[in-house]
Amino acid sequence: MAALRGTTRHAADRNKMALTTIVLILTGLAVAGYLAGARRAYASVGGPSNLRRLHSLPGYHGFFVAICCLLPALLVLLLWVVVEPRAVVVLVTQGLPEAARGLSEGELNLLINNIRNLAAGDVVSGQVDAMLTDAALRYTELSRLGRTLSAVLVFGIAVLGAVLAWRRIGTDFRARHKVESVVTGLLVAASSIAILTTIGIVASVLFEAIRFFREVPLTEFLFGLNWSPQTAIRADQVGSSGSFGAVPLFAGTLLITAIAMAVAAPVGLMTAIYLSEYAPPRVRDVAKPLLEVLAGIPTVVYGFFAALTVAPVIRSAGEAMGLAVASESALAAGLVMGIMIIPLVSSLSDDAIKAVPRAMRDGALGLGSTRSEAMLHVILPAALPGIVGGILLAVSRAIGETMIVVMAAGLAANLTANPFEAVTTVTVQIVTLLVGDQEFDSAKTLAAFALGLVLFVVTLCLNVLGLQFVRKYREQYE
């Protein structure tokens, strides 16, 4: 057994090792290319004294050779790493006897897994027969062939690229322009990662959500009042269908968000007003960083605090007043979430208040208004769009918050507006549906992606709206 384990490690490490070695050798080649290119550039003008006759500095010629050596080879390597495992599986499958190829997709996957495990020297589920051994041998052979082939191909391309680049070097060769355009290309690529991420989010969530809506109609999901995603394993069991009406989740999310905002909006706004208008500089210098610490505490810590400290306090306080409070009440989660959001509201409100021209405030004070009157009747109305924008961003934050509700709010999908009862939220359900081993084709798993889609769309709208408010308003006084 121990010996078997040992070989597994080796088999898994071999691929990694091969890859690391290839990359290391490529780097070495690129360095050599750099040196050779720079040297040829020197040689083409007959030594460092005539450097002025070169169009580009020798270093650029060196970089040009290195880039031509490295870039295409790395691209090919990347492509190879992505394509090879799939290609090997396809080839191995084609080599299987007729009977095995007729299996269903799931069984075939199991078979392929067994072949892979056997090839790696790992534990195999089920009988090891001649067919499996054959296939495993084939698999090993193809993998080895792939490794050799990839090394030959990658190094060939690298050397070829370097040599071609090296031959172009000469007095008039504009190496700097070439290098700079490659670098610019890389910069553009880096900046488009942000767009790729958004596309990735939309695509991954949307595709799975569409698969979900094929099984569960959209209207049932959006307007159904009953949420119990437990689908039974056998069709004849009780509750086999599972019901996916998400209204209780939306209501629970709204309830907790409302509680959080009821804490965060007034407290955050008043904090911003006090710190910008009343507080002596020394108080401000202490209080502001302290409140920022509040924003830096990880949400899982808030969750722990809500579940183990705040919830019991609320429960015993409720019992003392004769109220029935669930141990995982919406109130505990909402209150703690509100405190977490205070710094966000206060810093955005602070920005908005600071952006109101001083002349407006001074004018109001000069006409004899008290400071609170100036604030309430002049500054706040002027700052209102910015504050509203900030609150919208805070709402979006509260809706998307996960850890606090996972730890402190319950799993029971109650449709209620009573803050003392347990409710569940969209994010809690996403986590519970996806944690643990899942197949990717059950409605239960796909439902998480449908919820994710709703979450993404709602928070996106709030963010766009909020940012619009904040920005438009800033421009107004600039």
Binding site: P85, T184, L186, L187, A190, S191, I193, A194, I195, T197, I201, S204, V205, P266, V267, G268, L269, T271, Y274, E277, A279, A287, L290, L291, V293, L294, G296, I297, P298, T299, V300, V301, G303, F304, F305, L308, I342, S346, T370, R371, S372, E373, M375, L376, L393, S396, R397, G400, T402, M403, V406, M407, T427, V431, L434, G452, F456, T459, N463, V464
Partner: protein, 428 residues
């Protein structure tokens, strides 16, 4: 005369309202003080309760017992066998020698539960270190079980009826006898920092989670810092004002506000299911977290680049440098400290993040300490989440301790960022 009359009337009205207005002013001000105080008070209460709960977890109760490394148990067939030697029997024997009056089978079993199951491993390691211990008798400090630990730390209510506490009356009596003999001692809880996760609270440690977080953050910074700074350089220095760069900008601002759990969904669908990167590995965690921190790093880096005065660029351009040379020779070195500050802040956000990691399988119960980017691992915040769910009291204490460690790291990172910003802040 009429004007004077009216003026008087106005004056009277203003004076009349003055008291009310001053009261309003005062109450408004008190509201402001109250709101600010609320946030600060919460912070203080929070830290106080955290330290009150967690400080004791840094200490662990040990029992001093005279252990005989008897050949009978350790040398089953001729030679000392570390793997199959019955070290548990040594612990049981030592306990029996301590309490000779305990005879019944079930009582003896209860007696054995005073000491942690980790005690046998400790004895094995001791023997592996010093083979000459075989056959000798030695006073050893062995870790007590979590129940004895909790009792000794005063976290179990003795007045409760027996069935409502996790420690029986007999065990209570034995513990008291050990205390009376001075055999219980609190020592620094090394297991907390050297062990991986465990089902036994007294053996559970955060080493595995710390290493998981370390590898994940390493992957995150290696991916997100180069890409983030490159994107920032492009957007600040090269991008033409057109639709494309507007689109990129809107995207970055929105990504910064997308709920983190959505990034977890992306990681699950793209990195695990499509690209087949191993589940639960620091690599996939690092990929997800780098997408998450990218907007933070880009925004901070752009601010740093913007702070470099245009005169420097113009001087370099005037001396014949190309645009790329201006950026790489002058702008980047000057903006680098600011970019690094942004990177540290991004990393501290990544360190505290847990929701997306739940999606990509980093919540598994993992005992082994990860040693690379593809080993199954968990992260410190996720470990906190897992422990917070455990019913044992001893885990609540350890959760607080893990939180203190996490907050310590975050504090250190943020302090580093603040100091760095202060030192490089430059008036042009």
């Amino acid at each position: 005369m009429k004007g004077a009359e009216a003026r008087k009337e106005t004056r009277r009205k203003v004076e009349q309202s003055l008291g009310r207005r001053r009261r309003k002013e005062l109450s408004f001000r008190i509201l402001g003080v109250g709101a600010t105080a609320l946030g600060v008070t919460f912070l203080l209460v929070f830290f106080a309760s955290l330290i009150a709960q967690g400080a004791s977890a840094f200490m662990q109760t040990y029992v001093s017992l005279d252990v005989e490394f008897s050949r009978e148990h350790l040398v089953p067939d001729g030679e000392p066998d570390l793997q199959f030697g019955d070290f548990d029997a040594l612990v049981r024997g030592a306990l029996r020698a301590q309490f000779p009056d305990v005879t019944g089978r079930s009582e003896r079993r209860e007696l054995a539960r005073l000491v942690s199951v980790g005690a046998a491993y400790q004895l094995r390691d001791a023997l592996a270190d010093k083979p000459e211990l075989l056959g000798t008798r030695l006073a050893v400090f062995l870790p007590a079980s979590s129940e004895v630990d909790m009792l000794f730390k005063g976290k179990i209510d003795r007045s409760l009826p027996e069935e409502q506490r996790r420690i029986s009356d007999l065990q209570l009596e034995w513990t008291d006898r050990l205390v009376a003999e001075g055999r219980l001692e609190r020592r620094f809880n090394r297991a907390l920092f050297t062990n991986g996760d465990s089902r036994e609270p007294e053996l559970a440690g955060i080493r595995g989670a710390l290493m998981g977080s370390f590898y994940m953050l390493l992957a995150t910074i290696l991916i997100s810092f180069p890409i983030g700074t490159a994107a920032a350089v492009y957007l600040e220095e090269f991008a033409p004002r057109n639709r494309w760069s507007d689109l990129v900008e809107v995207n970055i601002n929105n990504l910064a506000a997308v709920p983190s759990i959505v990034f977890g969904l992306l990681g699950l669908a793209v990195f695990i299911n499509w690209a087949a990167i191993p589940r639960s590995s620091p690599l996939v965690g690092g990929l997800v977290l780098s997408l998450l921190t990218l907007p933070v790093i880009i925004i901070a880096s752009r601010a740093a680049i913007k702070a470099v005065p245009p005169s420097i660029r113009e001087a370099a351009l005037g001396l014949g440098a190309s645009k790329m040379q201006v950026v790489s020779h002058h702008v980047l070195p000057l903006a680098l400290p600011g970019m690094l500050t942004g990177a540290i802040i991004g990393m501290s956000r990544a360190l505290g993040e847990s929701a997306p990691l739940l999606m990509i399988g980093m919540v598994a119960f993992i005992v082994d300490i990860p040693a690379g980017f593809t080993d199954p691992a968990t992260a410190l915040p996720v470990q906190i989440y897992l422990w917070a769910d455990s019913p044992e009291r001893a885990f609540a204490e350890r959760t607080s301790a893990a939180i203190i460690v996490l907050l310590g790291f975050l504090l250190a990172m943020n302090l580093a960022a603040v100091i760095m910003r202060k030192r490089v802040e430059r008036q042009w």
